[in-house]
Amino acid sequence: MLNFHKEHKNLVLTAGVVFIALSIMVAILPAYQMQETQPIPNQKPLTANEQEGLRIYVSENCMACHTQQVRNIEMDNMWGNRPSIPSDYFFSKQRLDVWRQSPSLLGSERTGPDLTNIGKRQPSDDWHFLHLYNPRAVVSESVMPSYPWLFREVDSTLVGENDKIVAVPKEYFNNPGTKIVATKDALLLVEYLKSLKQMELPGGNVSDFIPALRKIQEEGMRSDKASGGLDGANLFKQTCAACHQDNGKGIAGAFPPLAGSKIVNDESPEMLIKIILQGYDARADYGVMPPFGDQLSDAEIAAITTHERSSWGNNAPAVKEEDVKKIREMVKNELNQ
């Protein structure tokens, strides 16, 4: 019989064979099974540029700090409207080339925010470029590295028509006569980041998050039937502060201030709500404001605007959920006509 104490051959063979059998069971077969996942209907493959951007994402190893998975627990609801499903990764997790495998996009650590939905949460080109050039220019407490090698310093007179100029505030770059211009790599990377949007499932998202605090908040809100139940300051911090900053002062040359803003302080919140719903690109001296209508509910917009209108020295009446609802309908009708 097998005498492991004296027969080295049997010992090694048994250890090897059993290990291989267990490995097949617990790793290889499930892996094959997961590989058979089909894409969601209408899910689009990455464009050539996005694919190139993904390569830069991998080579800079962004996965070390950023996850791309919305877990099915309530706290992850802030990163997506539904938990991630295997099909979400159908196009992004393919083998990169002969040398490199399918990227480990799911990640294992969240030193920075999850990026599953970054394209929806942060649709502004200008923000992404400035953030990559120096994250602290937009998020003062950030610990993310700067990526200056994705940008070039170019003499103002030599800036081409198609060059993307980054509006860097003076504290971070002050060299008169030159401009910071995004390289091809930066353009590709941002194109990839902007493509990261969680797809709505056909038949609507089923919210099967394992509940936590949020649920209680919502319950509280439902019973109140008022925007008072939502924390406007927190929502502002999550959604708006990246550009307009927590102190409402914005960033000169990139994102306009809300403190003391005429639109914010206007007696009627109509314009303010419209901008949030539809976006804004009327001023050349600032970056483009993307629309947030799909992302924020009426109650959330009401809470945010109320916070904006009562902070940093602003003093305007609170906004009710019904006001937002009315304006949203108005906007919809305008578009349909």
Partner: protein, 595 residues
């Protein structure tokens, strides 16, 4: 009773109506369960103790009565002369006084039994307790000596460089603008650190120490020194090329510990196969019939890791989430089947050999071996709890993580029981404290890892810095400490040169305190981070709150790094000019003393 039974389901139903994981720690159900179990436990323990005490008392009383009876019988049976003799003796004892010249006198001191190892007329070290010197020197073939020394030397080099990079990365959390070089950026440098300390430091040190064990316990010479050197070159080449390519931005895909692209990792795999072949052949020509338990672990670690590297890098099933399944499997088995298994094999030899006694239980070692294989293999997916991977796979991983208690308890029991009865050796040795810390961390780190796999704990800790604390607790607290213990145990014996004891102590305490600061700060910070996320705070809040913990981490990391510099000096001291040191030195000194 019926009343209670009727009430329980009602109670549970009412709990179900508004279930929430929010205050799970303070939820009445959990606290109640804890309290109930605690009460039962406390009561059970008290009862057990009382019962045990009573039982022991009766036994004692019985014995006492028996003795008394026997004593009475004895006295009754004595004759008068005998009783007088005893009384006289007692009288003399009561009036005894010292004469005052017991310690002086004409007699010459002699050490007939060779108990004295060292005589020092001028004890000059007033600050540190002097430890025992290594007493044995082992005759080792020159070729093997050179292999062991070069493997450990290369390992020490990667340790210093790898942890220097780690320390630099830790400081980047505090000063993200430290540099603006693409090849020094955090994302690119992080895998350089992890892979360097994994494949460079730990793996090379393990294989070097393994060569000694495999030859010694087989009572033979290693099969081919030449192959050992080929392996040495291939592994060093892997780390050099891998680190350079990662810094250049060539990354296999960011999966932890397989960031090297396959052409580079292939070198490592070949080195593993060569090493396995060499070890296997050495064991095959052993001069004793039994295969010592260390060699079970070492041979299995090599064969398992070869399989693992192949599965980890083959592309056929790795698109989509297939890659994620393999990633969990690979990253956990890399730690469990390679570092842990191999290092345990080393401990099974070096621990008993430095205590100069056999391992406590051979059978427990065998149990630990098979359960290591069975349980460790299944738990990879616990790195992806709540992820889109199949729920059954996550559950299997969690269940088997709990099962990890078996090999871990078997292993720690074996090591502790081996140390038992020799505790006084620990305070007298500079090697054993490393073993002790390693064993304690083996238990604490592994069990903590199992607990972390549970869904509730995962809920709070996953994705936070707690993971980083756990990986340092295990890869550093267990693996590195065991490796240092083995190195300090064996190098003086084969080179004949002992390191300065003060510096070994400095190495030990700096590494231990540094690790503790590192671990505790990240665990505390990681927990607060997780709670902040559950709370639904803006993400940046969790970055801000980590700052003080990152400061402490950097301080702990600095201490660890300094300890590695001390270690390298000790290593240098032990191997410098070792060929000129005669192995018989110790014997001669003993002769001089006794003559």
């Amino acid at each position: 009773m019926l009343l209670i039974l009727g009430w329980i389901p009602q109670f549970m139903m009412s709990q179900n109506t508004n279930i929430s994981t929010e205050n799970w720690l303070s939820s009445p159900g959990i606290i109640g369960t804890f309290v109930l179990i605690a009460i039962v436990m406390v009561v059970a323990v008290i009862i057990l103790l009382v019962k045990l005490n009573g039982y022991i008392d009766t036994l004692k009383r019985k014995q006492h009565n028996k003795n008394k009876m026997a004593f009475d019988d004895e006295i009754i049976a004595m004759d008068k002369g005998e009783i007088d003799f005893i009384l006289e003796k007692r009288k003399a004892a009561l009036t005894y006084k010292l004469s005052g010249d017991e310690l002086g006198g004409e007699n010459e001191a002699e050490d007939e039994k060779g108990l004295i190892h060292r005589i020092d007329n001028k004890p000059n070290n007033a600050f540190f307790d002097e430890k025992k010197k290594t007493t044995l020197s082992i005759e080792t073939p020159e070729a093997l000596k050179k292999i062991v020394i070069y493997y450990i030397g290369a390992a020490a080099f990667w340790l210093v460089l790898g942890t220097f990079i780690g320390q630099y990365l830790g400081m980047k959390f505090l000063w993200p603008e430290m540099d603006h070089q693409s090849w020094l950026s955090f994302g690119r440098l992080r895998p350089v650190h992890t892979n360097m300390v994994f494949w460079g430091w730990s793996s090379l040190a393990m294989i070097g120490l393994g060569y000694f064990v495999i030859a010694r316990t087989s009572n033979t010479v290693i099969h081919s020194p030449k192959l050992a050197w080929t392996g040495w070159f291939l592994i060093n080449a892997t780390i050099t090329l891998g680190s350079l390519s990662l810094m250049a931005g060539i990354n296999n895909g960011g999966g932890e510990y397989r960031e090297y692209i396959w052409p580079i990792m292939l070198l490592f795999a070949i080195a593993l196969i060569i090493t396995f072949f060499n070890f296997y052949k050495t064991v095959a020509k052993r001069k004793i019939s039994e295969i010592y338990i260390s060699n079970w672990f070492i041979l299995a670690a090599l064969i398992w890791t070869i399989v693992l590297a192949i599965i980890g890098y083959l592309p056929f099933y790795q698109d989509g989430l297939g890659e994620t399944v393999i990633q969990g499997y690979y990253m956990h088995q890399g730690v469990g089947m390679w570092f842990m298994t191999f290092t345990l094999g080393l401990v099974y030899y070096y621990l008993p050999s430095s205590l100069n006694k056999p391992i406590y239980s051979y059978s427990l070692g065998v149990l630990a071996f098979w359960t290591q294989m069975l349980f460790y293999t299944m738990i990879g997916t616990h790195h992806f709890v709540f992820s889109p991977l199949p729920w059954w796979l996550q559950t299997v991983a969690i269940v088997f993580s709990a099962g990890m208690a078996i090999p871990v308890i078997a292993g720690t029991t074996n090591f502790f029981m081996t140390m038992r009865g020799s505790w006084s050796h620990i305070s007298k040795s500079y090697v054993l404290p490393f073993f002790l810390v390693g064993t304690i961390f083996y238990f604490v780190g592994s069990m903590q890892g199992s607990l972390q796999a549970f869904r509730f704990t995962n809920y709070v800790w996953h994705f936070t810095d707690f993971n980083v604390a756990h990986s340092h607790m295990t890869m550093y607290g267990i693996i590195a400490f065991f490796l240092w213990a083995s190195i300090y145990a064996i190098l003086p014996k084969i080179t004949g040169k002992e390191p300065p004891q003060v510096l070994v102590g400095a190495h030990f305490w700096l590494a231990f305190i540094g690790l503790f600061a590192y671990m505790v700060s990240l665990m505390a910070g990681g927990t607060y981070k997780g709670l902040s996320w559950i709370e639904g705070n803006a993400f940046i809040e969790s970055v801000i709150l980590m700052r003080p913990y990152w400061v402490w981490r950097a301080i702990g990391g600095s201490l660890m790094f300094i300890s590695h510099l001390v270690f390298v000096y000790n290593f240098y001291y032990m191997v410098k000019n070792y060929r000129k040191v005669e192995t018989e030195v110790k014997l001669k000194e003993v002769e001089k003393i006794t003559v």
